[in-house]
């Protein structure tokens, strides 16, 4: 019961943040000198009636406060307006969210499954050669600019010819059967995943190592050892459980970092994700699309933090609001 109350409270506390974010991003974009309909007016394919409808929908003739509430109520209803190429923002964004989620989940899965064991091994063999090599390698991993690494990977893909040069699907994707489709997508996912995993791997590994080292120095671990328990049992049963808690908080941060960090990687690999979408939207000053992807990005970030907090509560009952 207590856990449910916590989760409920935590969800409630996320709502004002969303509200603040929406106000901030709205004012930010409205303060910019860009006419939100300029691109639409230039496009001959968009009829005058659509532009008029959009003008009314955004309430551009009314004061900015009214505009905000108009926009917000439309947004909650799921009406995000039209892009400059006259497609609905909501349909465009939907596929992009799924793609970004797919990539992020791959990265989180691989970085955790590699980083946690490595961090544990490094902590157990503290100050050994292995530990030192890993420390150097994590520093290297943290220092490579993601877009530069992505470029190098593209060179690699071009030279070996095995990996596709960006995108999410091949040209002949629509003619493939189900199994080939899945393989095609997986093949395209490999390089972006490698780039982003290498970068997020390092911080998780360091955190895991530091936490476990902390715990290994604590009294209860020494006691368990003194009691004569097997070392492996001490590590798995006593030390790891306590060392892993702070890492779960990191999950939320990492999700946030992925949303931001993936934008450049998506751009270089031409991966059709949210980051690339917002970049394109910004460059074409497509206001509706920028606003919508900004809000969705923030929403995903807040959601990521929320999930991390709830997970933490489930694993560690000591946590309070």
């Amino acid at each position: 019961m207590n856990t449910w109350v916590y989760i409920f409270k935590r969800i409630l506390s996320a709502i004002p943040i969303l509200f603040i974010v929406s106000i901030m991003s709205f004012t930010l974009i409205r303060l910019s000198p860009i006419d939100p309909l300029a691109q639409m007016k230039l496009n001959p394919a968009i009829s005058a009636s659509t532009i008029e409808k959009e003008q009314k929908r955004l309430g551009l003739d009314k004061p900015i406060v009214v505009q905000y509430f108009l926009w917000a109520s439309n947004f909650i209803k799921g009406d995000m307006g039209y892009c400059i190429d006259n497609t609905k923002v909501s349909t465009k964004i939907k596929t992009r969210i799924l793609n970004t989620l797919l990539l992020s989940l791959c990265v989180i899965f691989f970085s955790w499954i590699i980083a946690l064991p490595l961090g544990v091994i490094a902590a157990i063999n503290y100050n050994s050669l292995f530990d030192k090599i890993l420390t150097v390698m994590t520093s290297v991993g943290m220092a490579i600019p993601s877009f530069f690494f992505a470029i190098l990977m593209l060179v690699f893909a071009q030279k070996t010819g095995f990996f596709p040069l960006g995108g999410l699907t091949s040209v002949e994707f629509s003619q493939m059967d189900m199994i080939h489709k899945i393989f095609d997508i997986l093949k395209h996912l490999i390089l972006p995943t490698v780039v982003l995993t290498t970068i997020s791997l390092s911080s998780i590994m360091r955190q895991m190592r530091a936490n476990l080292l902390d715990v290994l120095n604590s009294e209860y671990v020494k006691f368990a050892r003194a009691k004569g328990l097997k070392y492996s049992k001490v590590i798995i049963k006593h030390a790891l459980r306590n060392a892993i808690n702070p890492i779960i908080t990191l999950l939320g941060f990492e999700f946030a970092g992925l949303l931001s960090g993936a934008a450049l990687t998506e751009y270089v690999f031409q991966y059709p994700g949210l980051g690339k979408l917002i970049l394109e939207a910004v460059m074409q000053s497509d206001i509706n699309l920028v606003m919508a992807s900004l809000m969705i990005g923030s929403f995903m970030l807040i959601l990521g933090n929320l999930i991390a907090d709830i997970l933490l509560k489930l694993t560690d009952p000591r946590v309070r609001v």
């Binding site: 943040i17 974010v21 520093s139 910004v282 900004l294 923030s298």
Partner: protein, 357 residues
């Protein structure tokens, strides 16, 4: 204080890798400080006739197998009508000597002393490009120094803005507590809840395009600072919360010191070692943010150089494959960030008593 300082360096010297990183950074900053001395061409001198010229080969052994003064050949640009490619061929007809510590273009050292001495200089008609040239025929080697001036300083400048703001904001929020704390922290959380890179590109994209390069540089710095302060202020607030309950703060309160004085003089100095650690550890993220922004064409604009916008050309696939010398700025970003990370870790180990020995 002096003893503390010498102690600090002694500890820094104990570990070889951070010590190397420290000196790498010192050398890098010296190089950009004397950028004009090391550069061969002025910052934005371009030669449209020699775009994408490959790096010149330097010879120290001539065709008679004798050791001679280093020399090089010019390239001639020819157009291959069959393959429709531009081909660079060495012009073996004339040798050009490479001079050291001699006259080149005129510049002002530190903006004060007029001089024209360069580490490397070339003869008048020689088109010496040690690391090739870019799409505008600018010298990549020279621009690395000028680009470094922006890329390596913009992070520090942004920190100079964001850290005081973050510290004072967090200090006020933590010390006053109650409603003020709630409102201030909700605002900071709001900024932190927008994916930082999204915020970065949006802010950069609404900058008007008709700014001078100095204005643009200042505004990009301000944007970087604006994004960085929120997360930092939260940590400071957390520290202030624990400091403000200590007895000496209670004592100062009883004496009747003002809130402003307590926060600035008695609480924030307590967080100084954390601030130093956070600064060294966050310079890299600012460097990476600037380079990413310029890479997209939203940051520092041509003709100014920064490592990020030099890498912009690597967006074209042909460039990466056939003109790999355009990738050099990427390696420099990597080395700078790596050194800051390694050094920052060591500084944390030295200053933070909680880290494991």
């Amino acid at each position: 204080m002096d003893r503390e300082k010498s102690n600090f360096f002694k500890k820094l010297r104990q570990d070889k890798i951070p010590y190397i990183a420290f000196w790498v950074l010192v050398v890098m900053y010296l190089l950009i400080l004397f950028a004009d001395f090391f550069a061969i061409y002025p910052a934005s001198q371009s030669n449209r006739k020699l775009t994408y010229q490959p790096p010149n080969n330097i010879y120290i052994i001539d065709e008679n197998n004798r050791l001679v003064h280093p020399y090089t050949y010019n390239y001639i640009k020819t157009f291959d009508k069959d393959t429709l490619e531009i081909v660079y061929k060495q012009d073996r007809s004339k040798k050009y000597k490479i001079n050291f510590f001699s006259k080149g273009y005129e510049y002002k050292l530190f903006g004060l002393f007029k001089t024209n001495i360069h580490l490397i200089s070339k003869d008048e008609n020689c088109s010496l490009h040690l690391l090739g040239s870019d799409i505008n025929g600018c010298d990549v080697y020279s621009r690395l120094f000028f680009g470094g001036q922006i890329s390596l300083t913009i992070g520090f400048l942004a920190l100079l803005i964001s850290f005081p703001i973050g510290a004072i904001y967090g200090g006020i929020s933590g010390y006053l507590g109650g409603k003020t704390d709630k409102i201030l922290m909700r605002l900071a959380e709001g900024i932190m809840s927008i994916p930082s890179f999204y915020l970065l590109i949006i802010l950069a994209s609404i900058l008007p395009s008709n700014m001078t390069s100095i204005q643009r540089f200042a505004l990009i710095t301000a944007i970087l600072a604006f994004i960085g302060w929120a997360g930092f202020s939260r940590v400071i607030r957390g520290m202030v919360l624990s400091i403000k309950n200590q007895e000496y703060i209670k004592a100062i309160e009883t004496i009747g010191a003002s809130k402003k004085r307590i926060i600035l003089k008695h609480i924030l100095p307590q967080t100084s070692s954390y601030i130093i650690i956070a600064i060294t550890l966050s310079v890299p993220s600012y460097i990476l943010a600037e380079s990413g922004l310029s890479f997209l064409g939203l940051g520092i604009q041509l003709p100014d150089a920064s490592w990020g916008n030099m890498l912009k050309e690597a967006q074209e696939f042909a460039n990466i494959l056939y003109r790999p010398w355009l990738l050099t700025p990427g390696f420099l970003i990597f080395i700078a960030v790596l050194s800051f990370n390694v050094l920052g870790d060591k500084i944390r180990d030295i200053l933070d008593p909680k880290t494991i020995k």
